[in-house]
């Protein structure tokens, strides 16, 4: 199932400058695995060695943060949009 992944500026050096890339996957874990396989530079940036999400990254499926859904097991419907965002403060 094709999924569009929005890449933040900080990671675009690893995607040849692409802001959006398309990969396959049925869960967030699948999608991130495929992403790292295709763009190895991202390895260790988004997902840590133990498979958990990097502390300073937030992943959204259709605007919902997966940490408050099922984490890396969150299903990704066909045609969904996945966004990767670094943790940035406000205030």
């Amino acid at each position: 199932m094709a999924v569009e992944v929005r890449i933040p500026t900080v990671l675009r050096t690893h995607t040849g400058g692409a802001a959006v890339v398309t990969v396959d996957g049925a869960t967030i874990g699948d999608v991130l695995g495929k992403l790292v396989a295709e763009y190895p530079g991202i390895s260790g940036q988004v997902v840590q060695e133990d498979g958990s999400l990097h502390k300073f990254v937030n992943i959204y499926v259709n605007d919902d943060d997966v940490r408050y859904l099922d984490g890396v097991n969150t299903p990704v419907p066909d045609g969904a949009e996945v966004s990767i965002l670094p943790a940035v403060a406000g205030g």
């Binding site: 990097h54 502390k55 937030n58 408050y68 403060a89 406000g90 205030g91």
Partner: protein, 322 residues
């Protein structure tokens, strides 16, 4: 309600207004808490007063003593709130602020007599925090209250904003607010959870600001406020949703239909409340309370209400509005 000992006594007790006519779900009522009614113009007046009163209580600041200098990183509103409180109380304030904020934020800091130390806009608030931490280490005589790590920040909401919401809307089922320092969500969220248990859901709204921030070298330059981690923010929140600039602007505009002139982050928070209302099963009664962090005055220069939507959206991507 006619005479106050000081303008600082006007902080808090903000109105809650029913805006259910904007709700996509007839069973879901939406009420908005207008924090722009605070004297400094934002929810951060509460935090500023709480930080300073706690420091005075702890003896870190001494009322009336000359030449006391405070320094704080802020994307604007906390700086403005602190500047107001410092002006009234006679403290000198330095605010470390990214360059890419609206011009009105700078003007307000200047009119309250605060000194602005610029941090790189490309690093957003993360850069301001980093610079402030370095300045604090280099200048130990400056008072660094550090809103991101100071429990007096959520305490202002646990003791003020939260009880006001429960008093004015005891049937609240969902609380929605923007995530900046996480102080509002932690303070109000924890208070409502303590009072109502699992009957209340806590929803955070986040801007996609990290998407275009280009001054981060890698994800290790990310930042999570210490209060969020130390006070169990991840366990408290039920949902977190990102709202993009276009949607933020659209809802900022829609709010004028019900007579509300609010800042751009309010548009984002209301967009989150609308998503919340739309996500509920049909017929389930709900009362959603959403926080409007500030009024629209500080964003007039962005043309948010009147200029072409595409142009305003592009402009909003390059300014910090949370």
């Amino acid at each position: 309600m006619s005479m106050y000992p000081s303008v600082l006594a006007l902080i808090g007790n903000t109105p809650l207004v029913d805006i259910s006519s904007l709700s996509p779900n007839p069973a879901a009522r939406i009420c908005i808490k207008l924090e722009g009614q605070n004297p400094g113009g934002s929810v951060k007046d509460r935090v500023a007063l709480s930080l300073i009163e706690q420091a005075e209580h702890d003896g870190i600041l001494v009322p009336g003593k000359p030449d006391q200098i405070l320094m704080e990183p802020s994307s604007g509103n906390t700086g403005i709130g602190l500047a107001l409180v410092c002006k009234v109380k006679g403290y000198h304030l330095k605010v470390v602020m990214p360059t890419n904020v609206s011009i009105e934020r700078r003007q307000l800091l200047e009119l309250w007599g605060a000194e602005i130390i610029e941090s790189p806009g490309s690093e957003a608030s993360n850069g301001a925090v980093r610079m402030a931490q370095k300045l604090a280490a280099d200048n130990p005589e400056w008072v660094f209250l550090y809103q991101y790590g100071n429990p007096a920040n959520p305490k202002a909401h646990y003791e003020g904003t939260g009880p006001e919401i429960l008093r004015d809307c005891p049937e609240v089922t969902h609380f929605v607010a923007g995530l900046g320092t996480s102080g509002t969500l932690l303070g109000v969220g924890r208070y409502l959870r303590d009072q109502l248990g699992e009957k209340v859901q806590i929803w955070a709204v986040e801007p996609p600001s990290g998407e275009t921030v280009d001054g981060l070298r890698n994800l290790d330059d990310g930042y999570i406020p210490p209060i969020f981690e130390e006070l169990g923010g991840a366990e408290l929140l039920d949902r977190k949703t990102v709202v993009r600039p276009r949607e933020s602007i659209e809802w900022t505009r829609r709010l004028t239909d019900v007579g509300i002139f609010a800042g751009i982050s309010t548009g984002a928070a209301v967009a989150g409340a609308i998503k919340c209302a739309a996500s509920l099963p049909p017929g389930v009664e709900a009362s959603i309370v959403v926080v409007s962090a500030d009024g629209g005055w500080k964003y007039l220069s962005t043309g948010a209400w009147t200029d072409d939507l595409d142009e305003v959206t592009e402009r909003a991507k390059s300014i910090i509005y949370f």
